[in-house]
Chain length 471, copies 2
């Protein structure tokens, strides 16, 4: 029912769009970070919203599929079309302007192709903070971050991408532009189209610009590493930290000794923070208001946590260099994981109180399948764990290909049984379409299918992502 | 195309539901706070989700319209069906259980009929805070608060109802139950049905329960009143307060001398806070972390604001009784307004930086229509003003009926021209359907109509609210 983007189709597009809109089909457009898929397509990169609308209208008229393309950093294949009719890859890379920044409102309006790092810098230049932060900030673009409702390390304090967006401009599947770039905190005028497009992974429209929420910069920041008796103690420490510092707790990251071992093995230049590596430890990052000394507040927290038996050992950064060193441990663990090579990785979330039980039961479930190393770490403050399963020393992921699906299934079944989510922050993309069908609520899935059919009756928008094509 | 709830239809419902589900059609179900509409209908109040589902299925089968009914406190007629086929008023009043409360997760799950005040009390008993707070908290119910995405005084710090909801259970228009009561901060598994139902005012489904987000209670709270030179100075003071105290600023309310005059005229027992009433003043409420003294922090803020020429006079509450007295000034202004009797009231929001200009131009626009008193006050921190126009002394609203529409139109046109919203927190209901058509973005309106038709093809869910019936 859909047609490939043929040379004739491209010729007709050329009549409407400046030549600079047509990009070489370089390999980077068809690769993704984990190397699971290879895509195909013709690449078009308009430099304005009306250009995007022209492409969408042409695709709608010819029933040619269209894949909105941001920074290409997604981990679930949402930006890759490996099969089906040849699509238009609609790249937002030429739309990266900051259209406006209002420090007194804590708002900026940027185009979808703006790179997260650039947005951070623009906010900082205005004395403000755009708090969304993920590992791929140097290449991820705002449109993709919103389309996938990106999370990251500061969700505990500032919310995910959804909560940092006040308004959107988007080209709908019929090629008309929704002008929803309101700079308002309160606006109860009809259905929440903004939140429907956020997280829809490009299947309901193309985000072309966004009004983003900024935050005042905290007066002072501090970071600590503390070893804890286990996940239960880590949760109690989180509650204590929030009792001490309220919203001042910006990040609360749980890590396991396995992560330190992988760092030692693959990235030996990274300084190991503990003399004796603890089984479990947390990174606490705080940004406090005037009148509070972050290092002092962290010391007071540690003293009370030590007294209560929650923390055994700890270190509080005494300089920006030390804060950076502490964060580097956390930030390099994914790279160490990559070098070891996971058999199966899981981006999951759980109700906070279920986490200790999940970690215990997860280890049993995985051990029931075979002998593996587990590196479980993540955004404990949000209940979001990256639960990754690795081969034992001397073995490789290739040795375990046959067990991969069983591990994934067992972990996801357990997460689902415990009230969790099998996609906390990475989305569904193409990787987890089957998971969504297995674990999703049937009335919700039917509502999603009805919405998709209503807004995109021809099914041209990123077919095969989130919902099975033709659903 | 829709049918009235006939005696025969009710008889068939009686076969399915216990007798206690059927309520006397008391007048309170058909009145609303501003006395603009009178409704009709038969009242059914199931005591469980499956009972709600049975009613919805019966209505769907017989094409009988259905109006979900919470506390009846809505100000835009969303809960009232004044015409068309006689509907079922589906009251959630018998579903008010707290299904669970997890202090360590900062989450509670409550049924839709729970009254906001009861939710506050349950959270408080667990040492937590449910921060949503509006004037009608003694009768408003959670289902209605979510269906209308209620706002109130603490949105600045904690967000509106939308941001305080982690998950929903709802009966969809086909009578199936969506089980979306996840207690998760991060869950990127498909389209955001939760936020679609929130703010849909009962037109896409019936919310039966919600997972609500709680907050730790601040260690100490404080309140101040400060007189300011004008709205511009108030905005600068807001920015300064957030620079001093970050997220610790819980509420920032702007008021005008007109409000004090109305209080003096209609509620003389309320103590006037200022010896010389200022033209403009703000109420600042803060809740701070350990180690900070709220009164001391407010004094430091005032000192710097005074130095900078932002605040001329101020008083900082030295006791809970004083905090209460300051808040009473703010909270009784709507009652004073009601006693004076507004010609036209407007629940609007604007980009923060547009507010001083709007207040100046609004006064000119209204003066161009006639001689009136304006009481402009509201949640400045959210850009949300209640902009109410009153007759001059000695005249009454009845003298100005012919000018009412012109005033409303002029104010709303100005708000729209300045990038604002004509419904900041009250919703569309039946009152503002025409405003939505006039000011709404056409592609967004079409998307809304397509979604409504897709999810509720028979159009039984609260027909005539938000979208014109039959749209």
């Amino acid at each position: 029912m859909l047609n490939s983007a043929t040379p004739e189709f491209l010729d007709s597009l050329r009549a409407d769009l400046p030549e600079a809109s047509f990009r070489e089909a370089e390999p980077r457009y068809f690769e993704e970070p984990r190397g699971r898929w290879r895509g195909r397509g013709v690449v078009v990169a308009p430099d304005c919203t009306e250009g995007v609308a022209q492409v969408v209208r042409a695709c709608a008229a010819a029933r040619v599929p269209l894949v909105p393309y941001g920074g290409g950093t997604g981990l679930v294949g949402g930006q890759i079309a490996p099969d089906g009719p040849v699509p238009v890859i609609l790249s937002l890379e030429r739309m990266r302007a900051v259209r406006g920044l209002w420090p007194e409102e804590n708002v900026m309006v940027v185009e979808a192709g703006a790179i997260l790092q650039e947005v951070h810098e623009a906010a900082e230049a205005a004395g403000r903070l755009f708090p969304l932060s993920i590992a791929s900030k140097g290449s991820a673009r705002i449109g993709g971050l919103l389309a996938t409702n990106a999370g990251g390390v500061n969700v505990l304090r500032y919310g995910n991408a959804r909560e940092l967006c006040l308004g959107l401009e988007a080209v709908m599947p019929d090629g008309r532009t929704w002008n929803g770039l309101k700079r308002l905190r309160k606006d109860n005028t009809g259905y929440d189209l903004r939140n429907l497009l956020i997280g829809a992974e490009g299947t309901l429209g193309v985000i072309t610009a966004a009004a983003l929420r900024l935050a005042p910069r905290p007066a002072g920041e501090g970071t600590a590493l503390m070893s804890v008796a286990g996940p239960r103690a880590a949760l109690d420490l989180l509650a204590l930290a929030r009792e001490h510092m309220g919203e001042g707790v910006s990040a609360f990251e749980l890590m396991h000794r396995q992560g330190l071992d992988f760092l030692a093995e693959t990235l030996p230049d990274i300084r190991q923070p503990f003399d004796t590596p603890p089984d479990w430890f947390v990174l606490i990052d705080v940004g406090l208001a005037r009148g509070l000394d972050p290092a002092g507040a962290l010391e007071a927290l540690f003293a009370e946590a030590f007294e209560a038996g929650l923390a055994n050992d700890g270190m509080i950064a005494q300089s920006e260099a030390q804060r950076h060193a502490f964060w580097e441990v956390r930030e390099q663990i994914p790279e160490a994981n990559r070098r070891i090579g996971a058999v199966s990785s899981h981006d999951i979330s759980l109700p906070l109180s279920a986490i200790p039980g999940f970690i215990a039961r997860g280890a049993e479930v995985v051990a029931g399948i075979g002998e593996f190393r587990i590196n479980c770490f993540g955004h404990l403050g949000d209940g979001n764990l990256h639960y990754n399963v690795f081969p034992m020393p001397g073995r490789s992921r290739a040795d375990h290909l046959s067990q991969r699906d069983a591990i994934k299934r067992a972990v996801h079944d357990l997460v689902h049984d415990m009230g969790g989510s099998v996609s906390a922050e990475h989305g569904i993309g193409r990787l987890k379409v089957g998971d969504l069908e297995r674990y999703g609520d049937p009335p919700k899935l039917d509502a999603m299918r009805a919405i998709k059919a209503a807004l995109d009756p021809a099914g041209i928008m990123n077919p095969g992502a989130v919902l099975r094509a033709g659903d």
